[in-house]
């Protein structure tokens, strides 16, 4: 998989969340994603950036523009060293039904992305990776 | 320690004997069974070959990185080859017909080099190696560019087909209709739905009727798209009516377990239109018949 460009941004304030949306939008456009696909991944990025800030105590997002033979797209990896999520399955299911910020953001991001991966350990932090292909 | 790269004599040789080389190369191309006289005129071919040689010489004259065609010094050549390949793809050439453009240069070039480097067999061998490696890479590049050109053609044709087969009709002021015909696949449904939503915004239509009379079957994926479109329309502030639902399709939708309570469904487009008019508070009256 050929990563043609990558950049890491820090997420420490709500202005940073806005900045993440803008940069993700620029990259999605550059990768040629359709308007709807752009909107989906930027919205997913917004959810995850907010989670990183509100629940992870701040963190980073790495953006990767990918051009491989098979496909072209954008991958975002959100990482924080916060409290971590004790039961991911529960958060994904629960959050969706109770509308709590963390769960809703996670399940929402999953629904909006082609790929979704999450690693979390209590006391160490959380890493969520999403990708959207053209 | 790697010896300093001896400067290749290829650019200088070509520059000096250009007219001969061009003539030989053209002869090769015209003689090749793969030339499509019906698709391209000889004058056009001559022009393209001439331009390529110029670019080739310029790129080979750079100091370092001559053999790496992805280097910046080769950018002009790459762009030229890309546009030639794309043009040929659009014109209907096959991939090998297109790559022949490059590969047919080998024989004339080697002939030229043999003449120029007659007394120096080692130098000749080196230069032929450089030349063949270069032309192979460029030939492959041409094929890849051709592929991209073909994909563009296919995509454009698909788009045109889609647009032709799914026109959005303005039934009345503020009432749109989208008659879907034929089998729907997921990709087509998505495109169609997005253009309907776009049309709603453009015309400010408060009501949109999706008519699926002409659709024989609807699978679960398509049904989901349909319902998502209805939901999106409501979010945007437009009303939605689905008409022309056959019994089997009704079953599929019910099996999905979706609540159709807030979606108006009618069996015919005519009924749907009547509902739309009522909601838009429009009334049709028959003109009085005098005499």
């Amino acid at each position: 998989m050929a990563v043609v460009k990558d950049e890491t941004m820090s997420i420490k304030s709500s202005e940073d969340v806005v900045r993440v949306r803008q940069v993700a939008r620029e990259w999605a456009t550059a990768q040629g994603l359709s308007l709807v696909d752009q909107t989906k991944i930027v919205t997913a990025a917004s959810e995850l950036a907010r989670n990183t800030l509100d629940h992870g105590g701040g963190g980073t997002v790495k953006l990767e523009a990918i051009n491989s033979e098979a496909r072209r797209g954008l991958r975002l990896t959100f990482e924080d060293h916060g409290p971590g999520i004790p039961d991911i399955e529960l958060a994904l299911k629960d959050g969706y039904s109770t509308g709590s910020g963390l769960g809703l953001g996670l399940s929402g991001a999953r629904r909006l992305s082609n790929e979704f991966e999450i690693f979390s350990r209590v006391g160490e932090g959380t890493r969520v990776t999403i990708a959207r292909w053209k | 320690m790697k010896p300093k790269e001896e400067k290749s004599r290829i650019p200088e040789m070509i520059a000096r004997r250009e007219s001969d080389l061009l003539a030989d190369w053209l002869q090769e191309q015209l003689a090749a069974a793969t030339l499509r006289g019906d698709l391209m005129k000889e004058s056009e071919l001559r022009e393209q070959s001439h331009q390529f040689l110029n670019l080739f010489v310029r790129a080979c004259s750079q100091q370092t990185g001559m053999s790496d065609i992805s280097a910046p010094g080769w950018e002009d050549t790459r762009e030229f080859l890309s546009s030639v390949s794309r043009a040929r793809a659009h014109q209907g050439f096959s991939p090998s017909e297109t790559a022949t453009f490059i590969f047919s240069l080998k024989q004339p070039l080697f002939t030229l080099m043999r003449q120029e480097l007659e007394g120096d067999p080692r130098k000749l061998a080196d230069e032929m190696w450089v030349a063949t490696a270069l032309l192979d890479k460029l030939g492959l590049f041409t094929t890849e560019a051709y592929q991209k050109g073909r994909e563009e053609v296919i995509r454009r044709q698909q788009q045109e087909l889609l647009e032709l087969s799914t026109p959005v009709v303005v039934l009345w002021e503020g009432v749109l209709a989208l008659p879907l015909i034929g089998t729907l696949d997921s990709a087509r449904t998505q495109v169609v739905m997005e253009s309907l939503l776009q049309k709603i915004v453009e015309t400010g239509a408060g009501i949109a009727i999706i008519d699926i009379t002409g659709v024989p079957t609807v699978d679960t994926l398509v049904a989901q798209h349909l319902l998502k479109t209805v939901a999106a329309k409501r979010l945007m502030g437009a009303d939605c009516i689905i008409s022309g639902i056959r019994p089997q399709i009704a079953q599929t939708i019910v099996h999905l377990g979706v609540n159709l309570a807030d979606v108006i469904t009618k069996s015919t487009l005519a009924d749907a239109f009547a509902v739309a008019l009522r909601r838009a508070k429009l009334v049709i009256t028959r003109a009085e018949n005098h005499g």
Binding site: S13, S14, E15, V17, V18, R21, Q22, R25, L35, V36, Q38, T39, K40, V42, T43, S46, E47, R50, Y96, G99, G101, L104, G105, S107, G108, R111, L112 | M193, E194, L197, Q198, I200, V201, G204, A205, G206, K228, T229, A231, A232, K233, R234, L235, M236, G237, A238
Partner: protein, 129 residues
């Protein structure tokens, strides 16, 4: 502190969101609107989101909150101008914005507000507010 301007048009309040709001700004808007409705005794609020390219769950919930709070204060809320891509994404997200009425544009939105206001009066059985 930056705020999103709220315009008063007769009995209605009009808000046009043109910037990509960070969370604090959105919360400020929520507060300002609620306070504005109470202070001006507005009958309705029109929120124009035609410039918004992204509406995520936070903004979605903000819109829902505004609708709910204005209803408590006896006013209607209409959101207008949602872009197709945004609508599709919200549906995918599973957000249905309950309690939020929508219209395609400001003109249709105002009509909706006026109609809703008239219905309310008939229901409440009172003429003057």
């Amino acid at each position: 502190m930056e705020r999103i301007p709220i315009l008063k048009m007769g009995d209605y309040l009009l808000v046009t969101i043109q910037v990509d709001m960070h969370d604090r700004l959105a919360l400020t808007l929520q507060d300002d609107l609620t306070e504005g409705i109470a202070r001006t005794r507005a009958r309705g609020v029109l929120i124009d989101i035609s410039s918004l390219e992204i509406v995520d769950s936070f903004i979605g919930r903000m819109l829902g909150n505004i609708a709910a709070m204005s209803r408590v204060l006896d006013a209607e809320t209409v959101v207008v101008g949602m872009r197709p891509a945004v609508a599709i994404t919200l549906v995918e997200l599973g957000l249905s914005l309950p309690g939020v009425r929508t219209a395609l544009n400001v003109e249709q939105g105002m009509r909706l507000l006026q109609l809703a206001g008239a219905e309310q009066e008939n229901f409440n059985g009172r003429g003057e507010r």
